[in-house]
């Protein structure tokens, strides 16, 4: 019981995180969201709040965004891209969308 308790982090976990999607010529999206699904090179990859730091490259495909009020936005990436996750701050760089 005691060991289980210690696993709960002391601070309240955030449920959402900041997403920024950048294209070479514009900012496509910026806002707090609940979940994100991106086409990484090894397959589709889901990101939730408090994800571990991660850098990966993306292939063309669907980017699915779920915002805090559970609305889903789907964007299509046509070119190469990169995803960086760092402390609830997610940056998506796509060369064409």
């Amino acid at each position: 019981m005691a060991s289980l308790k210690s696993r709960v982090p002391p601070k309240i976990m955030e449920k959402d995180f900041l997403l920024t999607i950048l294209c070479p010529d514009k900012k496509l999206y910026e806002g707090r969201i609940k979940s994100l699904i991106v086409p990484s090179e090894l397959g589709y990859l889901g990101v939730l709040a408090n994800h571990a730091p991660l850098i990966t490259n993306l292939v063309p495909g669907k980017i699915t965004i779920r915002n805090p009020s559970d609305e889903i936005t789907v964007l299509h990436a046509h070119g190469k891209g990169f995803l960086e996750v760092f402390k609830n701050n997610v940056t998506l760089l796509v060369s064409a969308a």
Partner: protein, 284 residues
């Protein structure tokens, strides 16, 4: 009066015409500037994030097989890319960047520096370097196009990869705001690895693969940004130059119009005096 009325009128007319031309050019530059400026400010974040990402990946790493990370201890051949404008009438814009490039070149042995020149003005200036000029791109006229940007990026990378150059630098004008811009020389290749501790990212699929994708994208974003910065600066400098020219023309005009009125008045007075004195003579 030293000048006749006709001469003054002619001068006024010609200055009036010049003023019209410069103010038209000023307006054209203003619209072009506002368009490309918004484009530039929207393009900056992408390139900046990409640079940050690359920096993070390269922290404390040694060259890991990627051709762009090749490290040459013996600094030898240099490639310099100079970005100038195609048209004149933009103040000191071209002079600044060319002077900086000259200064840069003079630091190295002349036969070791190769050039890639963008813009007619730069081409005209560097023509006497002859075989040192590898490529020239003219006819852009301050209009950005993705195609040309890609071509330039490819040419620069090619020169580096085929060991034609050990280091690639770019001389361009960085845009700060409509009043200030600064000519700078920046390193394009090779990419230096920075010394710092890791933050501990998960890299997927692996570092080499990510770098393989990231570096070309980074380079093309950088080329794009430098072209946009230069063109924005060009339009801003032209706008400033034309505004000054228009103001000068206005000043000249007010002076000349005053002079014209004085001369005309003097002529009238003289004629009246002539008529009066003639009438007096007839009377007497």
């Amino acid at each position: 009066m030293s000048q006749s009325l006709k001469q003054i009128k002619n001068r006024i007319r010609s200055i009036e015409n010049t003023r019209k031309v410069t103010s038209a050019m000023q307006m054209i530059s203003a619209t072009k500037l506002s368009r490309i400026d918004s484009y530039l400010s929207q393009s900056r974040p992408y390139a900046q994030r990409l640079t940050i990402l690359l920096d993070k990946l390269l922290q404390g790493r040694t060259a890991s097989g990627n051709p762009f990370l090749r490290k040459d201890e013996a600094k030898g051949k240099i490639l310099l890319c100079v970005v100038t404008s195609d048209n004149g009438l933009c103040g000191v814009y071209n002079n600044n960047v060319i002077r900086l490039a000259e200064e840069f070149i003079s630091r190295y042995e002349r036969n070791k520096v190769k050039l890639v020149v963008i813009g007619k003005k730069g081409y005209a200036y560097f023509r006497n370097y002859k075989e040192a000029v590898l490529h020239t791109y003219v006819g852009l006229n301050g209009k950005y196009s993705d195609k040309v940007s890609r071509e330039i990026c490819k040419a620069l990378c090619q020169a580096f990869l085929t060991a034609e150059a050990d280091e690639v630098y770019i001389a361009y004008t960085r845009f700060k705001n409509a009043l200030t811009n600064k000519a700078v020389v920046e390193k394009f290749l090779n990419i230096d690895c920075k010394e710092a501790q890791e933050i501990g990212y998960i890299l997927e699929p692996n570092e080499a693969r990510i770098l393989e994708e990231l570096i070309p994208e980074y380079l093309s974003a950088k080329t794009r940004l430098m072209l946009l910065e230069s063109f924005t600066s060009e339009h801003a400098s032209r706008l400033m130059a034309m505004r000054t020219a228009t103001e000068n023309a206005k000043e000249l005009l007010t002076g000349l119009i005053l002079l014209r009125n004085k001369v005309r008045q003097a002529n009238i007075t003289r004629e009246i005096i002539e008529i009066v004195s003639a009438a007096e003579a007839l009377k007497g």
